[in-house]
Assembly symmetry: C2
Homo-oligomer: 323 residues x 2
């Protein structure tokens, strides 16, 4: 195992602080439900599946503190609005609050197992010898282990395929530069970092054989939300006839959502864009808009790679409902 985003030990949730990567590997030890909520809000842990697992442990910590199930749920639910997995985890924990410790471990194992299976199922869709582009970090850091988008890449490389990865730096938070490049380097997978603006250039030149990303929330019609910029990559991949894969566990599917139109899009502070390493990149009073996610319509998706199978957008509803 190369990378693990979090684990539970001695009644504490241990989190790799992703804000400080790649410069330092710092671990936070969290004792309370509110500490976990704050860590999610501040993006010490991020990535939909990892947020879900952190929230499950946060719920269990809350129960141990003597909070009610409703309090645990409400504290953790009010952190970040877009990722479906957060709410999937909280619903699971709420249903199983009488055995919260065991339920959190169970949810954790379910997510890790789903990611492992996504890797196995997705690897065959990776080119035998070619280049895959990914946006943001949908690696082990985003999912606890293996990753979603990175799982098929890892599995394909482990089984002998020759993959090169183009890593979008992923402004504003630089998940690609800080996290994906760090993960791929640790595993010895060949990669190059590019600015987000260069993704289309390489697609047009025929240098990209497939695009693979994770997801934060998937609607029943196959529309999905993911890190800001995903929509542009999907449109440009489509325009160039490049397969576009979305890798996600079924906990990311929102069974209550017909289309992507009503997915809540988190707007984060403008300072995330305007300030880098403590210094502004723009004039002092420049107003900023900072949507953290965008919605990609189903028509741009070649297939969803889930732990229950690789399916077209039309088939995603059936997978969730076990059909």
């Amino acid at each position: 195992m190369g990378v693990r985003a979090l684990w539970y030990e001695n009644g504490q949730l241990v989190l790799l602080d992703q804000r400080r990567l790649p410069h330092t590997e710092t671990y936070m030890r969290l004792d309370t439900c509110r500490e976990v909520a704050q860590a999610i809000k501040d993006m010490a842990v991020r990535g939909a599946p990892a947020i879900g697992v952190a929230a499950a442990y946060g719920f269990a910590l809350g129960m141990a503190e003597g909070l009610t199930p409703e309090e645990c749920r409400d504290v953790l639910a009010s952190t970040r609005p877009t990722a479906r997995d957060l709410f999937s985890a909280l619903e699971f924990m709420y249903r199983n609050s009488s055995r919260a410790d065991e339920a959190a471990r169970q949810y954790h194992e379910m997510v890790v197992g789903a990611c492992r299976r996504i890797g196995e199922l997705g690897a065959e869709y990776m080119p035998d010898d070619g280049c895959v582009l990914t946006h943001c970090n949908a690696g082990a850091l985003a999912t606890v282990e293996y990753g979603t988008a990175l799982a098929p890449i890892r599995h394909a490389v482990a089984s002998g395929k020759r993959l090169r990865v183009l890593v979008d730096e992923t402004r504003p938070w630089l998940q690609g530069a800080r996290l994906t490049a760090w993960e791929l380097a640790r595993e010895g997978i060949e990669h190059h970092l590019i600015v987000d603006n260069a993704a289309g250039h390489y697609m047009r030149l025929g240098e990209v054989d497939a695009v693979i990303v994770g997801a934060d929330r998937i609607a029943l019609n196959g529309d999905f939300a993911n890190k800001i910029g995903t929509y542009e990559k999907a449109v440009v991949a489509h325009e160039n006839g490049i397969p576009f894969y979305v890798a996600a566990p079924t906990t990311t599917v929102d069974a209550g959502l017909e289309t992507g139109d009503s997915i809540p899009i988190e707007e984060r502070p403008g300072s995330e864009v305007a300030v880098l390493w403590g210094r502004r990149i723009c004039p002092e009073d420049t107003p900023v808009r900072n949507p953290s996610f965008d919605v990609t319509p189903a028509k741009y998706v070649t297939a969803f790679i889930t732990e229950k199978g690789v399916v077209t957008p039309r088939e995603i509803e059936g997978v969730v409902h076990g059909r």
Copy 2:
């Protein structure tokens, strides 16, 4: 006059050092042809039309130093490969090297006049009350005065239209955040800064009425090179039925180039991507690819706004050849 990128006085070329904006307004005083070449290479001055004017003055300085016309041309031509205006300026100066000082002033006035006219002609294509998205900096800083893409915006606002501008930050060099936001603030034009990744999001939501960019080189079939990321914005605008305008003087058109396929694309140092304010955004040894421009095929262009008229891509060849 709000902003001027450069001027000639007392036998020196005075340049606003664009690398240090928006934090400090520093002016460089250049005495020699080689100093001007270095300033172009290092991007103290950038933007195709402004590079052309700087090169014209650099040529005149070289002649005054006693260099041959060939030496002046070769020193300045080997700085940056993509912008056509650099070579347009050098060809003009070479033809007029016997009266270099006067020719440089003439070239300068020609560019400023073209930008003023681009503003007048382009303003009517701006919405009466709406939002325009721009990429990179094609303002006064890129063109000496007025700008190319920003000229119609300036002129439209001056004539009473209510425009809001969405400014792509434009990684890696952050021309949008550092330069365009600075110019628009000085002129009191309403704007918001966004990450490049968010451009498509706002286009899809119907919040963008037009996209307008500059150009570094235009082929006779209407393909054009511009700052990396332009291609993605053009594809996504096209997909959403949003008009996409390219504003450029005819000095940017390469009469020797049938299509955009053979436009030379400058690859700049990876450190421009990997290092921000002196600190790396990725692991120490992450390999980087940093293409500085991309090529957008003609089919994505609604119209070229030139000083000789607003024309479709099919008509650009006729404009250049005076038909």
